[in-house]
């Protein structure tokens, strides 16, 4: 009798580690499919829509690319709404910035477990390595992921399995523990060597983490958003826009999102139906969205700031078009704000 191959679902981020984890298990005859979660903060995807210079060299979605290299199916799951709770109230707290890595891992494994059960798969694999990340991949936190997600010993980490107690797939002989690995720590050398052995030459090497929440500047802007609104909350548009332009908050009630180059201007253009906006007309200049509420005085200040980033910054007067979210527009004429009046603390 030929045993039907066991089936594993792999958390695929698009980086090298998950790619290797899949390869290792695939080599042992296990059927693998990938799952990739879209939180809204992912570095993957959409960013290529923003910057003009990136358009010349189209940015691929690394998770899709990895799946194609591995010859596996990839299921991309939208978890934007549910993920908010992870970002707002992480049980295990944040990392260096607003990254709730441990809670995030638990949440993703839990979602993968639901998928695994719904699709008749046997276990989950991840590219985690003991000691690789300061918080979410420590020897003492790896078991927390298993416990809190409810996955227990159906979670296999092929790259460091030999440093951990045998899991169900190993004990049942679905995979051979001897052919798994014992990587640990922050060094990338063993991964790079293994990649070479598999003939993998091209792969993404994300620097900090897989999402914008590990970025200090991004986190500061998100924190500002929460402070301004008096509550931890965000919509998809908010977190997308935090990735684009200069964010300037001259008053508690509103901030400006000012494009820095044409690509960002085009991107922000697509949001004019949702936000009031300012665009210089007498001089070439940026497009700015207004997030919040402005009175006349606020609007004038906003216009003066935007004018300051236009080519008319030294002109006595700059003309701008103010358009509200409904599309009604009018013209404003202002004196560009002199540099010394642009306060440092406004810049987010």
């Amino acid at each position: 009798m030929i045993a039907t191959p066991r089936k594993a679902v792999a958390l695929v981020s698009g980086g090298l580690d998950s790619m290797l984890a899949v390869k290792v298990v695939q080599e042992q005859g296990v059927h693998v499919e990938g799952i990739n979660f879209f939180t809204g903060f992912c570095v993957e995807g959409h960013t290529h829509a923003i910057r003009k210079k990136d358009r010349k060299k189209p940015k691929r979605n690394n998770a899709l690319w990895v799946a194609e290299q591995l010859g596996i199916k990839l299921h991309i799951i939208d978890i934007v709404e549910e993920y908010k709770e992870v970002v707002f109230n992480p049980k295990y707290g944040y990392g260096a910035n607003l990254n709730p890595c441990l809670d995030c891992k638990i949440f993703m494994v839990k979602k993968a477990k639901e998928w695994m059960e719904a699709h008749g798969f046997d276990f989950i694999i991840t590219g985690e390595v003991v000691g690789q990340r300061p918080k979410s991949q420590r020897r003492d936190t790896l078991p927390v992921v298993q416990r809190d997600s409810g996955i227990g010993d159906r979670l296999l980490r092929p790259l460091c399995a030999k440093n951990l107690p045998p899991t169900l797939p190993e004990r049942e002989g679905w995979v051979d523990r001897e052919r798994l690995y014992d990587f640990s720590g922050r060094t990338r050398k063993p991964q790079i060597a293994l990649a070479r052995r598999f003939g993998i030459e091209d792969y993404a090497q994300p620097a900090g983490g897989c999402c914008f929440l590990t970025d200090a500047q991004y986190s500061a802007k998100l924190q500002d958003l929460w402070s301004a609104r008096g509550a931890k909350e965000y919509e998809m548009d908010d977190i997308m826009l935090l990735k684009v332009g200069r964010h300037i908050r001259p008053a508690p009630e509103f901030k400006l999102i000012v494009s820095r180059e044409e690509g960002e201007g085009n991107f922000l253009q697509g949001y004019r139906y949702r936000y009031p906006s300012l665009k210089t007309v007498s001089h070439a200049g940026p497009l700015a969205l207004i997030d919040g509420t402005v009175d006349e005085a606020g609007l004038e200040l906003a216009a003066r700031i935007v004018a300051r980033y236009s080519q008319g910054k030294s002109a006595p007067e700059v003309e701008l078009e103010f358009r509200d979210a409904e599309g009604a527009s009018r013209t404003l004429k202002v004196a560009p704000l002199p540099p010394h009046e642009l306060k440092r603390e406004w810049m987010l």
């Binding site: 995807g45 959409h46 290529h48 940015k59 990839l74 799951i77 939208d78």
Partner: protein, 77 residues
């Protein structure tokens, strides 16, 4: 055989891919889906997704800042 249209305008990648994936799950082999998008990233991402999952992109065109892709659903395994 059905032919459907999916509006993914103003969605940023990977949302259009997710919408396509979810819609295709309810279609039959041979069915056609036309996807209308505004994020140019779909020109890479949707074909990649189709290659992985055994579907075919039969047409890609750009018109007035919109990207229109036509897919034919492949055989399920």
């Amino acid at each position: 055989m059905t032919r459907e249209v999916l509006d993914c305008r103003r969605l940023l990648c990977p949302m259009p891919v997710i919408r396509v994936q979810d819609r295709v799950a309810g279609l039959q082999p041979g069915d056609e889906l036309e996807v209308v998008c505004t994020d140019p990233g779909v020109l890479q991402d949707i074909p990649a997704w189709c290659r992985i999952n055994g579907h075919r992109v039969t047409e890609m065109r750009e018109a007035r800042g919109e990207y229109i892709l036509r897919l034919r659903v492949g055989e399920a395994e």
